[in-house]
Symmetry: D2
Subunit: 196 residues, 4 copies
């Protein structure tokens, strides 16, 4: 399979790194959705980011940003979270745009980074056809973003060591579904190659 | 939780039944994606359909219908499937619209029934706020449809006995994710009540 | 301006012909929205279609197709029109797909051919970047389609002699707006060149 | 016609004010797209805003905000404009959110305020069904926003004295099209009533 997508994709594919929800809410001990395992992927997320920056790849920093004063439909299932301006909503230390011209912010208030945002428009304008998608949670916002990306025609690589979840069995199932139906679950090294 | 959504939703919620991919491809022994367990939910799907019809509820018959002569982006991961006019693409015997004015077709070519279709528009025009979503596969098209429905603000009830998958562990994970993040995994009786 | 788009666009642009609403409703004397001037562009529409077919260009046949049994939101302003299966909704004689593999149907129920349809998906899958858009009415469905096409990044050529309206001053204003803000109002010959 | 929409809409319609592109670019003498006539509608825009605030109506402040470092598809036709952080992109003096909980920002980079934004989601969450849409230009961003709003099912009122254009004949045509096909061109007093 990997051989397959590589031979198919490596030539001419323009690849971006999409980092999903690397925010205090999940990564900072004081965060509302903090879980200890999240911190385990931080070094790998840094490796991807360094590689993307070294190669001048497009980097999209996606974060959950809910509007204050809105009874968001999501609150039918989830508690209020990541309100604009809160500590939870801020990027975890060491993440967020570096200030160069290849890095962009996408604020979202749904699981998918494509929902009600200009992410697809941005990627089209930048002629991107392949995405490395990493971050948290594998079974929630990462998967939802992969679903939309695949539906729109992007080739999605998800490095197994750069996504996880507070419920490992759900992360495993998400990666199996992604690899079967929507993209390619790859090693960190393969993801780094794709960003080189 | 169930108590909660009931008290919250039962009053005034206008509910539709959305049947996902009840097609030969999955249910007919000659279908390309046939798996034996699929047939186990057929009686329950009929129960939901009978109840919805008895109560004059809106019924949406969703099916996978791929255009011939298109190299569909999905084929990057999946073999060609459910081409318009094929045996695979036809509704499984006993399903499909009955010809009354409350039943509608949605042809889709992505996992989610909302992607590149007029389903959201139709549901808005019919003042629907709650969906009972059933069919196959729990972890693929059912889940993808729930994801979009929830993102758009619909309350989604997924009857556990009226969805499944050829890989039960993936169906279980999907139902757990749905119930945690996107909707309510309910009993068949609860789904029937919601359609009454 | 024309020189400009040519030099900019002619190389490598993959071009499709999009025919908007060439239906009995507008073109047939018994149609509900018939206006005599519509028939004046018929020969030019045929010229475009012949050229596109001769060059194996993608042709998209867009038509208004409203669902029966739906109180369509459009009816807040407009009378019921072009119900699926009606004489009004059928293609005008000589139009509609020829049955070859380059011609596709898009059924719409809004002014824009992109709204709640898979047109954008289809065009992406076919690697189309430029559209020749013709048909009726210049100030309604043609313009609305150009608006969305431009927003999505397509280059839109609208041949002045292959669009019109029952109200010529509104067609003139639409063409001026299109040429200023959204695309290029061109001659028939220029549109034919783009399809060659 | 007005009688008609009133009787139809006044009961139970929840109405928001949508102000389109009241930015330095159009209204400030140093703005890139400044035209003198724009300032003529400023007092009327203030009247609408005062009325909406007095009645605690939702107010949406829409503005053009283009990302730096993106070769925006719009630049195929238009010069670079309203880059985030520029003087052009800032609200014209006296406009923009007042800081209360009923006022929201929508940043857009297409003509329609609905394109690649969360405006539709916000309006749904706030149970809005009717919009008073005012600002500039009548034939460009106002009209495009009305087109999408109508397509999505909102009832759109456009006060003639609170929209205009640097090209009056194009504003007139836009208002005629809006009133015929997409909404209701109303007096300032009627718009104020709808916001009361």
């Amino acid at each position: 399979m990997n051989t397959d997508w590589r031979s198919h994709l490596v030539t001419g594919a323009s690849t971006a790194l999409v980092l999903v929800d690397i925010q205090n809410s999940f990564f900072h001990p004081a965060g509302s959705n903090y879980y200890e395992a999240a911190t385990e992927i931080v070094p790998n997320l840094h490796r991807l980011l360094r590689r993307a920056r070294a190669s001048d790849r497009l980097v999209v920093h996606v974060s959950e940003q809910h509007r204050p004063d809105v009874e968001d439909f999501e609150y039918a299932k989830l508690p209020e979270h990541c309100i604009v301006g809160s500590h939870d909503a801020a990027f975890f230390k060491g993440f967020g745009p570096a200030g160069n011209s290849n890095e962009f912010l996408i604020d979202k208030r749904r699981m998918s980074a494509f929902f009600a945002t200009d992410l697809d428009l941005l990627l089209r304008e930048k002629s991107i056809s392949r995405l490395v998608i990493a971050g948290v949670k594998a079974n929630v916002c990462v998967r939802a973003t992969v679903q939309d990306a695949f539906s729109l025609g992007y080739r999605c690589l998800v490095p197994r060591q750069a996504v996880n979840s507070n419920r490992p069995h759900l992360a495993d199932a998400a990666l199996e579904d992604i690899d079967r139906y929507m993209g390619w679950a790859v090693t960190l090294a393969e993801a780094e190659d794709a960003l080189s």
